[in-house]
């Protein structure tokens, strides 16, 4: 496979991914965004729930990222292509969390009702699979050569995040099993406390009871929604810095 060096102007940040496209691609991207937005508005206007209205846009967005991934892969190699794709998907995922944050903090929804644009996807199954997917891609990127202090920090962060989702998923299944035993088939065990945040394991463990840990702002005081908002913000920022650092230090760049 022939690879080209990555120009500095094409640093893989979500906002500039489409911006690097040739004018035709840019026009296609704008058209896709416009169609997605129009379909979303149309869906809402005819009374569709938010998640259904957002679904066409999500598919279009995913399709664009996949096309872009093929392009990057052929132009810059698998490492860059994976980084760009991951950043783009994480950016989209971040929009979901931002929406939840807005719904809870600004619009006054309850924590349970603040389930983002695609509420149907706000389930422990999806979170669990998503985060394991992100971790596996991270490990693949690391394997392909993304190695700098930010990348190590990002990897640690992602492992920690995925661990919490694994803990949540196991508890989700256990509680679900108990609910079914109680004859409550309609209740979901979504939104249980995890390791961090208010009512999380760290805040409610006898080992930390009454210590400063239980009042550490955010760590043991935030709602689950905030905890996962910041998990994802951290993950995305660290990935951006790690990728940026990698591109600046890459031999191809130095050679140019």
């Amino acid at each position: 496979m022939t690879t080209h060096s990555m120009p500095l102007s094409a640093s893989p940040q979500p906002a500039s991914v489409l911006g690097y496209m040739i004018p035709l691609q840019r026009r296609v991207a704008i058209a896709i965004g416009g169609v997605a937005l129009a379909m979303g508005i149309l869906g809402l206007s005819i009374g569709q729930p938010m998640w259904r209205a957002a679904l066409p846009g999500t598919f279009l967005f995913s399709g664009a990222v996949i096309i872009r991934w093929y392009y990057d892969r052929s132009q810059y190699g698998q490492l860059i292509a994976l980084m760009v794709a991951l950043l783009t998907f994480q950016g989209g995922h971040g929009v979901e969390h931002l929406t939840q944050w807005v719904q809870y903090h600004l619009l006054g929804y309850t924590a349970r009702a603040s389930s983002g644009l695609i509420s149907a996807a706000n389930s422990e199954w999806v979170h669990f699979l998503w985060n394991w997917g992100v971790l596996l891609v991270m490990l693949r990127i690391y394997w392909l050569g993304l190695r700098n202090p930010w990348a190590y920090l990002m990897l640690f962060w992602t492992i920690a995040h995925t661990s919490e989702h694994t803990y949540l998923f196991v508890r989700h299944l256990e509680v679900l099993q108990m609910l079914r035993a109680y004859g409550e088939p309609t209740i979901t065990a979504q939104g249980l406390p995890g390791i961090f945040g208010n009512d999380g394991w760290l805040a409610r463990s006898p080992a930390t009871a009454g210590t400063w840990v239980c009042t550490f702002p955010g760590l043991t005081t935030a709602t689950r929604l905030d905890v996962h908002f910041w998990w994802n913000v951290g993950e995305t920022i660290l990935l951006m810095i790690a990728a940026y650092t990698h591109i600046h230090r890459s031999p191809q760049r130095t050679a140019r």
Binding site: I187, L192, R204
Partner: protein, 550 residues
């Protein structure tokens, strides 16, 4: 970014977790003389370092299957109705008879029925100021009633008072002297959530709901002031919120109805919100000096599971998942207990997480009390819930929980299973009072659909001092007075009140567990604002302070 730049925000985050200190309120006013009398405590039986349960005959009944909001049960009150020096009990009831339990000593009681149907809150309080405590009660879906003590000590009897409180729905109540005129006033709060289900619909015309202050006039009649046109008031307390020397009104509301606070400004009441956070469903209020700084702290209880195990979460989840109330961005409500302390800026800050007291289950009456007389206020919370609408999947629709006893060591609260106060009956009302005069706080719980329980305190406890006040005039027990006990280890604050916890009333006395502290002075602030000072109070016993002429 260098390392210093990195560390500074982290240090700032860490230190921001520390709570603000409570500013001391300086008492000023005219000083009046007092006389004091000390009665030694009764000899207690050899201690066993635990509590010994004594079931009572009384059982609070509600129609079965148990529906909301009959499930909220009833309160219990303690007070000496026959002047024999031993606190008696009134155990309220919904579908059964309210019981007057005359304390005959040695934890035996003579239980008599009272003409108080469908009773919620109850208090033993001398409303007419004749020196003989009366019984006041609120009723499910109705108003407030008053039984006046006929002063027949051999066979206590009561007559229904002719005073009226108008067409007002009262669920919770608070008797207090708010204007310093030495006559007791009463604050009532309705429980609007109950309106569609029980009681007389004619009362629910909108004018009967809310929070009312009834000010007692010289002729014994009451003048109402409507403070709010709505409420879900499970608990009401009086406390000087803004440190201006006047007690203010705090109403704890169920559901997403925010707790309400009115500050007394002269003759006016000004609504405010001084709390950093409050429980979401405030079940119970109690006021005492938890951090031993000579100022009051507030304990507000909520529903929050005391463990986050899989089984517990599975029981709670169907209920919490249906709680779909609107959540405004500036909502101060957290679904957990709050312990509020006044900060230097006159706002009240929640330290319940710092001291590990956020979660005591589906809490009802939750109280401060120094159960082991070590000088630190412990917490006891009775809990549990029965309701077919909430727990149809559990046997008897009952969320069975262990009552929570939390021992305070000066730094944090820790479960005290060794006290054997972890009963699983569905507790509602509760009082902590010394029933046998041995200087240790016993506990009485009014359970729902199960016999009431008395827990005799057999802890190997330290010394204590129990202070009661007496003054001439229509408020002989000096309800609304405040005390400051200076000891060799701390300055302790206490208030004379008969309203504590959920729907419950206690003896008008302040119990100070002393631990290693040796009392050196006692300051009294009478309800009218005058002050008294006692040098070298006793180190143990029942201290009666009588107010002299001004």
């Amino acid at each position: 970014m260098n390392r210093t730049q990195l560390y500074i925000p982290l240090i700032a985050l860490f230190t921001s977790a520390c709570s603000a200190a409570t500013p001391a309120i300086v008492w000023s006013g005219n000083t009046i003389p007092i006389t004091s009398h000390v009665t030694p405590y009764a000899q207690s039986i050899p201690c066993s370092d635990t509590f010994s349960p004594h079931p009572l005959t009384h059982t609070t009944r509600v129609p079965v299957p148990v529906h909301l909001f009959a499930s909220n049960g009833s309160g219990v009150a303690a007070g000496d109705v026959n002047a024999d020096g031993l606190p008696d009990l009134v155990l309220a009831n919904i579908a059964g008879e309210t019981t007057l339990a005359i304390n005959t000593g040695a934890f035996t009681f003579k239980e008599l029925p009272l003409d108080l149907p469908n009773t919620r809150a109850v208090q033993i309080v001398d409303v007419d100021g004749d020196g003989h405590p009366d019984i006041s009660a609120t009723h499910q879906g109705a108003g407030i009633s008053l039984l006046l003590n006929n002063n027949t000590p051999e066979q206590p009897s009561f007559s229904r008072a002719q005073v009226t409180f108008g067409n007002v729905r009262a669920y919770s109540m608070l008797w207090h002297d708010f204007n310093g005129d030495q006559r007791l006033d009463v604050v009532t709060g309705s429980y609007d959530a109950e309106a569609p289900r029980g009681g007389s619909q004619s009362l629910f015309d909108g004018q009967a709901n809310g929070v009312f202050l009834f000010t007692q006039n010289a002729d014994g009649k009451f003048t109402p002031t409507r403070l709010s046109d709505h409420a879900n008031a499970l608990s009401i307390t009086a406390i000087d919120i803004d440190g201006d020397g006047s007690d203010d009104i705090v109403v704890g509301n169920d559901f997403d109805t925010h707790d309400m606070v009115w500050l007394k400004h002269g003759k006016d009441w000004v609504e405010t919100q001084p709390f950093e956070s409050t429980p979401h469903s405030t079940m119970s209020y109690d006021v005492a000096d938890m951090n031993r700084d000579g100022a009051p702290d507030v304990l507000a209880a909520d529903m929050n599971p005391y463990d986050t195990g899989v089984e517990t979460l599975a029981k709670w989840l169907p209920v919490t998942s249906r709680m779909t109330q609107y959540h405004p961005a500036d909502d101060p409500q957290l679904m957990e207990n709050a312990i509020l302390q006044r900060g230097t800026d006159n706002r009240w800050y929640n330290i319940s997480r710092t001291v590990a007291a956020t979660s005591t289950g589906w809490s009802w009456s939750t109280r401060f009390g120094d159960l082991d007389n070590d000088g630190f206020l412990d917490i006891y919370a009775v809990n549990g819930m029965i309701a077919t609408e909430l727990f149809p999947f559990l046997p008897d629709a009952a969320l069975v929980e262990h009552n929570q006893a939390l021992r305070f060591d000066g730094t944090r609260y820790q479960p005290a299973p060794q006290w054997h106060l972890d009963a699983t009956e569905s507790g509602r009302g509760m009082v902590m009072t010394d029933l046998n005069g041995d200087g240790k706080l016993d506990i009485v719980v009014n359970n729902l659909q199960a016999p009431s329980m008395l827990y005799e305190n057999e802890l190997c406890a330290g010394n204590s001092l129990t202070v009661t006040l007496h003054q001439l005039g229509p408020n002989p027990e000096a309800i609304g007075a405040q005390l400051r006990l200076v000891t060799s280890t701390a300055t302790r604050w206490g208030a004379i009140t008969t309203t504590r916890g959920y729907l419950s009333g206690d003896v008008a006395a302040v119990h100070f567990g002393l631990g290693a502290g040796i009392p050196s002075a006692l300051d009294i602030r009478w309800p009218d604002g005058t002050l008294s000072h006692l040098v070298t109070p006793p180190t143990s016993g029942h201290l009666l302070i009588e107010r002299g002429a001004p």
